[in-house]
Amino acid sequence: MKKSVLLGALSVAGVAAGVASAGTLDDVKARGKLNCGVTTGLVGFAAPDANGEWKGFDVDVCRAVAAAVLGDGSAVEFVPTTGKTRFTALASGEIDLLARNTTWTFSRDVDLKFEFVGVNYYDGQGFLVPKELGVSSAKELDGATVCIQTGTTTELNLADFFRSNNISYEPVPIETNAEGQQQYLAGACDAYTTDASGLASTRATFEDPSAHVILPEIISKEPLAPLVRHGDNEWGDVVRWTLNALIAAEELNVTSANVGELAAGTENPEINRLLGTEGTLGEMLGLDADWAQKAITAGGNYGEIFAKNIGETTPIGLARGLNAQWTDGGLLYAPPFR
């Protein structure tokens, strides 16, 4: 820290004690803040609101981790990253955790040396087309001009889809959602493609949302997952199990409203273990016994986070779909807490 003060005096309070080698968990605790990489602005997932507060689904994951580790859901420094800068930011230790709707792929996991800690949103790439075009399936898009919001693996999926169906298209890559939307509405492209969640939130802001349809085809699997650096398993476990705790909490009906009450002790041993009244799960992670309780209190369980940010009552209006609990026919399945 001394070094940081010196350089701070020299320049602009620039150098902060970093990470990379030492345990990330210890670093975060020493720093008292979690550095969390998010997108530069995607409403529902991570975007600053009119007051400059970061809001969204990914943001709440960051807050839950911060609450679990530091006991304070607001002890997060949000670092906006672009598609280009996100991996470097994580690899170089600028951020401890990247929660930026990043698709879990083989090469990112293995080649780029990152560790995806579990899926927080099952997405898939879809198409948005104007109703007047009379298109009912993506396979009818032969020769169409398609606006792509670059970012995750969108370009590659699109190329694969059109190639496997042996039809042609013209790609128009677009940097931001706002520009993609402008192009699409002006008719400069016939279809707009990005993750289905993004399409829904985009359509919600149109002047006349009913004039546009999202085609039934979902052309890719986009498991969006938070990720950490490879090789720091202790920290990876903390993030993984915080995410699992949020999911398990929904399954066990532990909400931010009743978590205080349940933490006093219940009949259900799994809830007790989760909330730290039984067993030593927190200690094993290197955290306090009530780590999960704090994480759930910060923003609610998975279901609450979903409903608050992107659920059907929000302007984005996404149904749970694949992101329902396994008991409701979805894919969310937290490993047991024992």
Partner: protein
């Protein structure tokens, strides 16, 4: 004709001159002006008509849109309601997001006075540099300004800027003590003293000194909006002028290795677009710093932009050096001045004076280029527009109003700087005659 008054013998002398009679209307007044300036020949008349038509087309399509603008709604949907199908601007977004456009979305609103104060102090600090007529004593404030501004904008413990200032002052004292022996001794000695002071001081400042400071600390990640453009522009230009002078002198020097390094540096930086240098700042520089320290993005960007503008300023100054007659250097040599003295006392003052308009041009270009940081996820004014504002549910779809606003802001600043530069050029020209 006053001398005629002395001859009393003449019977009639008109005491006052006859008032000039107005010229015929065909040779003066608006008609004549029109004829001379708008319709001197057939070709010119055609050009005038075409120009008038162009002006008409542009104004008739844009004026109603601008004048009919809506200023007080809270979202685009409301705007559309108020406009009721009419095509007009929805300027409400500027009103509602004014603070975000100016300061970014993270700067604490209760501290907005700090950057504003820093801005006005900057005008005061810049005045003696820009206008040579002002009293030279004001330069003391200019020297203090960087530390004051740093403290105002970033806050935190006042010890940091004080320490930095102390280092500079002691370094300068050391320099002035040793410079009589030789310039090099003074120069390097001064730098060494400053570093020692900073290093010792860095050990002395207690950890957590920023926690309860008079001005709470603001992280540089929280800076944004037009303020970020201004800060990047001002910081990088002022840092790059000394660096540029050093590079220009290095490029002109007789030392082959120093010259080679400077040439390679300048040509490399000038050969690549700023955007790739910003990519370096955002994705590569993090790997080049020691593993146990992360330097925040703002500082990395400042480093790269400073290097960028230093290379351009070096070329401008090199032009200024080349424009000086060779006799100046020879005269300095024959007086027995050594290299440092000749440069400091004879060459640089003249060369810099010639280069000022060029430097100002580089500064304007650089200030415009600060918008590029929006590409690497910094929220300057363009980044704010393309990011949080256009992505928000309320203002999704407002496009022209925001970019028009950004354009106007830049125009006002850059145009006034370039007008200043022209004024200075004229002034310097008269000085030379």
């Amino acid at each position: 004709m006053s001398d005629q008054n002395n001859k009393p013998a003449v019977a009639f002398v008109r005491e006052q001159p006859i008032p000039a009679s107005p010229p015929p209307t065909s040779a003066s007044g608006p008609v004549r002006w029109l004829q001379e300036n708008l319709f001197p020949t057939w070709g010119n008349a055609l050009l005038t008509v075409i120009s008038l038509y162009v002006i008409y087309v542009v104004l008739s399509s844009s004026l109603p849109w601008i004048l009919g603008g809506v200023w007080n709604t809270s979202s685009l949907a409301e705007c559309r309601e108020v406009l009721d199908g009419r095509s007009a601007a929805c300027f409400s977004v500027l009103r509602e997001r004014w603070n975000q456009l100016m300061f970014g979305f993270k700067y604490p609103p209760e501290f907005y006075w700090r950057p504003i104060l820093a801005f006005f102090l900057m005008l005061v600090a810049a005045a003696p540099v820009l206008f040579p007529d002002l009293p030279r004593k004001m330069l003391v404030f200019t020297g203090l300004y960087p530390f004051v501004a740093f403290w105002l904008i970033w806050g935190g413990t006042i010890l940091s800027p004080l320490l930095a200032l102390a280092g500079c002052v002691l370094g300068y004292l050391a320099y002035s003590k040793w410079v009589s022996r030789s310039f090099a001794a003074g120069f390097f000695g001064g730098i060494a003293v400053a570093f020692v002071v900073w290093w010792l001081g860095g050990l002395l400042i207690p950890e957590g000194a920023s926690d309860n400071a008079m001005l709470p600390a603001v992280a540089s990640r929280d800076l944004g909006g037009f303020m970020l453009n201004m800060m990047l522009g001002v910081t990088c230009v002022s840092l790059s002028v000394p660096l540029g002078i050093a590079l220009a002198l290095g490029r002109q020097s007789d030392l082959p290795i120093v010259k080679g390094i400077c040439v390679i540096f300048i040509e490399f930086i000038r050969g690549v677009p700023l955007i790739t240098l910003l990519f370096v700042a955002s994705v590569m520089l993090a790997y080049l710093f020691p593993p146990d320290a992360t330097v925040d993005l703002f500082l990395r960007v400042v480093i790269m932009i400073t290097m960028f503008s230093a290379a351009y300023i070096a070329e401008v100054i090199r032009g200024g050096l080349a424009a000086l007659p060779k006799g100046q250097k020879e005269a300095a040599d024959s007086l027995g001045l050594d290299y440092a003295q000749a440069m400091r006392l004879i060459i640089l003052p003249q060369a810099l004076k010639i280069s000022i308009p060029g430097i100002v041009n580089v500064a304007v270009g650089l200030f415009k280029d600060t918008t590029l940081v929006s590409v690497i996820s910094m929220f300057d004014i363009v980044g704010m527009i393309r990011g949080p504002i256009l992505a928000s549910t309320e203002w999704n779809g407002v496009y022209w109003e925001l970019f028009l606003f950004a354009a106007v802001l830049f125009f006002v600043v850059c145009y006034s700087i370039s007008q200043y530069s022209q004024w200075l050029e004229r002034r310097l020209e008269t000085d030379h005659r």
